[in-house]
Symmetry: C2
């Protein structure tokens, strides 16, 4: 009998979510109560996580029912199975997490970064079913990407390709990025980038805005969204600028891999047309003529609360025994 | 018996070169005397070309010896087998050239663009042997690219991916490009881009230079090279600027596909260290830390006079019978 289930682990900077998923993308059991930062010792983290997974595995009929385990984690390297230089996680050194979990669970484990996991999830269960060439862009605290070419994730020669949040979109007077460089796409178009734009607008402009009622230091992209749907002109312009910059970047991405679709995922994507319309306009304006109108701009079809675990679990289908 | 030979056709804006090649990349017979622009009627062009090829095929032992035919051509679409919107060719409409040649020769034919053909040639016979992830950059009249990911050419969903000469490298006050947009990489870093930089420097600067002895209207990148190797400061700075801009662009390409190598090909690549050193410096300065020092910057190992035909012919090994 084929093994009918996979385990998905979404290892985030704040929460770790894990669960058991079937081939149709139904989540049978899941747990989202584990706080990543509560485990400064990686061994404690692995123990707690694997105990939780083992309990679920028993519940669904035992280890013989599990095809494999997929992990999505910041800076997860598909080739090495290690988490490398992940600034937001409590463990400073490289963590050979695929091997550690595989040894504990006695199951094949595959690791990739969170955005790649989202792309695999979208291809397996979501808007990218049947597509062989697409780019997943995750608009969260940062901007991540998972690139699929010819039906395969682009891992590069070292396992960590696809850092489109860090292409340089402004070469002069660009914003300082957490990566140490300036002008990265994510400094403008992540949720934090949108809040940063709002603070700049509030400081540099004189016009009235609902955003002036909010403390600039705690202002978030959600505040900008709420103001924009109430018709606030400044908030609308913040989304227009964000969308324009994304569209400029997407035009360059299209020149690289000519994807069938660019799929948006993550908190900011919920802004819908406020963001999609200026992106589309900037894509059309900036793209090389031969590509004009060919690449669809669409939203993820995965429920945000489920997507992380689904994406990670989808990787489990291709996990191999460690050699 | 395996068929031991392939036919390669390099269809350029000026010359058409074709020949018969064996599995080791030895060119058995070739002809580079055909002038593309001499055939305003595509049917005349196809007739002359196929007559020439048939004569060669007879010479090497007949059609049974030929595995397939590969064509590299500007705007050649791998999926459709058509040349689409090729501004520098005499035929205005889309040309279904793969089918036309296949019917005439009664052999399988595959088409791709010239830069992709160069990448396949490099992977089959040159510096990229054994590599699964690399980017070929052709620095000629324009800037072309062939991208290999996981051992396969990146064609995109429409067959024409990999137009890295047209990523926007200067978003403000960028140079006008032949494509109608401004700031494209090739407006700065093609052979014509280098001549353009020279004219700008001569006009905007006061310092002496060997380049001032040349009529600016006819000045070429080769003049700049000759001046630079004689130690001319302005000429050296022109290559430094060209290299810096290429290095900035390469840093973004690395964030996309994390290639093992970026391979330079074409006339400008002959400038060697004059260009390689500033490219490497700008790559190192601009690349995201996780990729630093991982991607090699190397020159093509194919002789320029042979490369076009070798690249095109390499595609012939995978040509399939048209359905």
């Amino acid at each position: 009998m084929e093994k009918p289930y996979v385990v998905g682990i979404d290892l985030g900077g704040t929460n770790t979510v894990f669960g058991v998923v079937d081939a149709k993308g139904t989540i049978l059991v899941s747990d989202s109560s584990m706080k990543t930062q509560a485990y400064p010792d990686i061994n404690d983290y692995i123990s707690t996580l694997c105990n939780g997974i083992n309990a679920f595995v028993e519940k669904v009929g035992g280890r013989d029912k599990i095809r494999g385990v997929g992990i999505g984690a910041p800076n997860g390297n598909y080739f090495s199975g290690c988490i490398e230089f992940a600034a937001n996680l409590p463990w400073r050194e490289n963590v050979p997490i695929a091997r550690m979990i595989s040894e504990k669970l006695n199951l094949p484990v595959a690791l990739t970064n969170d955005a790649n996991a989202a792309a695999i999830g979208e291809m397996t269960y979501g808007a990218a079913r049947g597509m062989k060439d697409f780019i997943m862009i995750t608009l969260g605290t940062g901007v991540g990407s998972g690139i699929v070419v010819g039906g395969n994730l682009v891992y590069g020669h070292d396992g960590v390709a696809g850092e489109l949040g860090h292409v340089i979109i402004r070469r002069t007077n660009g914003r300082l990025c957490g990566c140490g460089r300036t002008g990265c796409l994510e400094t403008y178009t992540s949720a934090t980038g949108v809040a940063r734009t709002a603070r700049e607008f509030l400081e540099n402009r004189k016009d009235d805005s609902l955003l002036r009622q909010i403390n600039p230091d705690t202002l978030t992209s959600k505040d900008v969204y709420i103001a924009a749907i109430q018709g606030d002109q400044m908030a609308i312009e913040i989304f227009e600028l964000t969308g324009r910059i994304l569209g400029e970047a997407f035009a360059d991405f299209i020149a690289f891999s000519s994807p069938e679709a660019i799929i948006l995922f993550g908190g900011l994507a919920n802004a819908g047309d406020l963001l999609l319309k200026p992106i589309q306009a900037a894509m059309d304006k900036n793209v090389l003529k031969v590509f004009l109108g060919k690449t669809k701009l669409i939203l993820s079809q995965l429920k945000e609360s489920d997507a992380a675990i689904l994406g990670a679990s989808a990787l489990g289908w291709e996990a191999k025994e460690l050699s």
